[in-house]
Symmetry: C2
Subunit: 153 residues, 2 copies
């Protein structure tokens, strides 16, 4: 199945934006993400409508984060993107007459619902601030690595 990568994309974009003071244009973001400015506008539009980012037109325009990093969770982004569901598996018929199919649906639905609840809970616990911190750690580690390499050479 073709997986929806918009959540990953907007996270990537938001963290890049968080590293800067000035707004970033769709064109800049599209280069970060390896995609197209129109795709960026289309996807970020969901976040704008959810109040997570704001956009300005004209020169010196672009996208900026409109909320506190520690107040934006992965769950918020998932909801904002209106992602239709987490799962690549499902059943064909939502309201079957066949009792056998009803048993099958009930078992699958219950199992998937439990996993979905876990996902939503966990995603509600992870904020953009957490990711930015994780990035800072990685960045420091790489900088140290480069430093070591320079000294060794």
């Amino acid at each position: 199945m073709k997986r929806d990568s918009r959540l990953s994309s907007v996270l990537h974009a938001l963290l890049h934006m968080a590293e800067r003071d000035a707004p970033m244009t769709s064109e800049q973001l599209s280069r970060c993400l390896g995609t197209n400015p129109v795709v960026v506008r289309r996807t970020m539009g969901f976040l704008r409508r959810a109040g997570i980012v704001a956009s300005d037109r004209g020169q010196a325009g672009g996208w900026r984060i409109a909320a506190d990093l520690s107040a934006i969770t992965l769950r918020d982004l998932h909801v904002a993107l209106e992602e239709p569901g987490f799962f690549a598996i499902g059943h064909r018929n939502d309201t079957p007459d066949c009792l056998v199919e009803q048993s099958v649906n009930a078992a699958l639905d219950q199992t998937l619902a439990e996993a979905e609840a876990l996902l939503l809970r966990r995603m509600g616990e992870i904020t953009l601030a957490d990711l930015a911190k994780d990035f800072a750690t990685r960045f420091a580690a790489r900088r140290q690595q480069v430093e070591d390499w320079k000294n060794g050479a």
Copy 2:
């Protein structure tokens, strides 16, 4: 997103087979599932290769369950079908150079991995025998309902 419904389909098929003594043909199963005999053969082929069902050609041939109902779990079926993953969301680039993207991937992967582990655990606890029992309960309830309706009329 187009969801993979093969797990649902084979469960449906297996429960119908469990209700009978004789083998069922692809044609019969396809009518139960509202699909095509070739699709049934293609999908059930995964279960045959996993030893969960057996098939016989020729007259009086068809499909039969080759293991104990209480020994077949949803997880076994999921694995047998070689379903590529549970999730409809994911990230675009598996081995990014960008440190920001690495942070994003790490966070998403960890969250999804946790949910996947839960799913596999739960699916490993549910057997075909459990579903057959649930079906029996629903069947009895409906029979009672019909009985009541007859008496009332």
